[in-house]
């Protein structure tokens, strides 16, 4: 267990270390969100109707950014070889890496999501809900994205391949997450959306480590 804990610490340190990857993801998120009013219309009324949906869709895009390095870095420098020789199964290694991805990148993005939604014109009282569903969706993005990253491991132009594999799989979390916020805004029951989002995330956490381990073994062999 302590080996997995030290792997988590190492992953977090690498994510936040030199280069500050999560900050780039946040900057990208803010940048794309800034383009939106320029591209559509700066009219507050129209913008406000788009705000939460746009914040959620761009969150999904920003979550893609650092996925390419999730396994690739350890694959290139041989660390993945050695990680398979530890006491912990490869499935656990993959899960810990995705958990670190969520904590290092997903959580800062989730903090930024309500700021962006409010800046685009969403009502500030929805901010906690936007944060909660973004944080939860980020967990799903990290694990489903990890599966894509493991499948694309060793492929040329892996980053684009990951995006193509993973974006369709992000659909449920975008639908449920943005739907829950929308329901709250329209005074409907927001719980079903959030519960479905939770179910999606739990399924991702439970199932994708097996896919990731298989993908990694395939790439190494």
């Amino acid at each position: 267990m302590s080996a997995l804990a030290s792997l988590l610490r190492r992953e977090l340190a690498l994510a936040w270390g030199r280069g500050g990857g999560p900050l780039f993801a946040c900057a990208f998120y803010a940048g794309v969100a800034t383009l939106l009013p320029l591209a559509s219309s700066p009219e507050p009324q129209r913008l406000a109707s788009l705000a939460t949906g746009a914040a959620f869709a761009t969150l999904a895009l920003a979550s893609l950014l650092s996925l390419e390095r999730l396994f690739e870095r350890d694959y290139e420098d041989g660390a993945l070889d050695l990680l398979t020789l530890g006491d912990a199964p490869l499935e656990a290694v993959a899960a810990v890496k995705c958990l670190a991805q969520w904590l290092a990148t997903g959580a800062p993005l989730a903090l930024l999501a309500p700021v962006i939604a409010v800046a685009l014109g969403a009502e500030p009282r929805f901010a906690p809900m936007i944060f909660a569903s973004s944080l939860l969706a980020g967990l799903g993005f990290a694990f489903v994205g990890g599966a894509g990253a493991a499948l694309a491991l060793g492929a040329k132009r892996g980053g684009v391949l990951i995006a193509v594999i993973v974006l369709p799989l992000f659909v449920p979390s975008v639908v449920f997450g943005a739907g829950a916020i929308d329901a709250l805004a329209s005074g409907l029951d927001w719980r079903p959306g959030l519960v479905l989002l939770l179910a999606y995330c739990l399924a991702a956490v439970g199932l994708t480590p097996f896919a990731m381990a298989a993908g990694v073994r395939n790439a190494l062999g």
Binding site: S6, A79, L82, T84, L85
Partner: protein, 206 residues
């Protein structure tokens, strides 16, 4: 604890090309084998097949322990070290962070880190980022993992290449100590090992 390694009629194919076939090797506790062969003969692939990283085309790799056969999965998760061309060290982390992480991952031993630092003279390097190390220093850091986490089978791929003469001799002493403690060493080399080792040649038939 692994006390024996048996490789029977192993065949490995990489990228559609047969590297070697019908390779047999038996390694017992206290024995070292120096594996030689031309570039591209499959030395690295053999070590990776023993470590379970690549699936052989045919043949079998068996591990033995003091109390009979050991499951390959158990042997690989607790009984062997692999040192390859790619050492898995992160360039932006310090030598100490990397050594202590890998020691924790491979199964720490009481006093193992201190022994490893002393054996490979790493003390002045510990605060440096890995990218600041020279090739030889970096290799010493990679090798230090062998001393930090005791595992009986060492699979070494060109372990000596970047080391200077004094460090080679010193590592030779460490290998001899490992063997006398019941360890096993399978090393792919071009230069002779600084310890008595049985020779095995790979890829002659091809």
């Amino acid at each position: 604890m692994i006390t024996g390694l048996v490789i029977e009629s192993l065949a490995v194919e990489r990228g559609g090309r047969r590297l070697f076939a019908d390779f047999d090797l038996t390694l017992r506790a206290g024995e070292a084998v120096a594996l030689t062969g031309a570039n591209g003969a499959g030395k690295t692939s053999l070590l990776r097949a023993v470590a379970g990283l690549i699936r052989p085309l045919a043949g079998i790799v068996r591990f033995q322990g003091a109390a009979g056969a050991v499951e390959a999965e158990d042997a690989r998760s607790a009984g062997l070290h692999l040192l390859g061309h790619h050492d898995g060290l992160k360039t932006t982390r310090t030598a100490w962070e990397e050594l202590s992480f890998w020691s924790a991952w491979m199964g720490p031993a009481a006093g193992g880190l201190e022994r490893a630092v002393e054996a490979f003279e790493l003390a002045p390097l510990l605060d440096l980022e890995v990218r600041r190390l020279s090739a030889g220093q970096r290799r010493r850091l990679a090798l230090a993992r062998l001393a930090a986490s005791p595992r009986s089978l060492w699979l070494l791929d060109e372990p000596l290449a970047p080391l200077d003469a004094a460090r080679r001799a010193r590592f030779g002493g460490l290998m001899a100590e490992h063997l006398s403690g019941g360890g096993l060493i399978l090393a792919a080399v071009h230069d002779p090992l600084p310890i008595p080792a049985r020779a095995a040649v790979i890829g002659e038939a091809a």
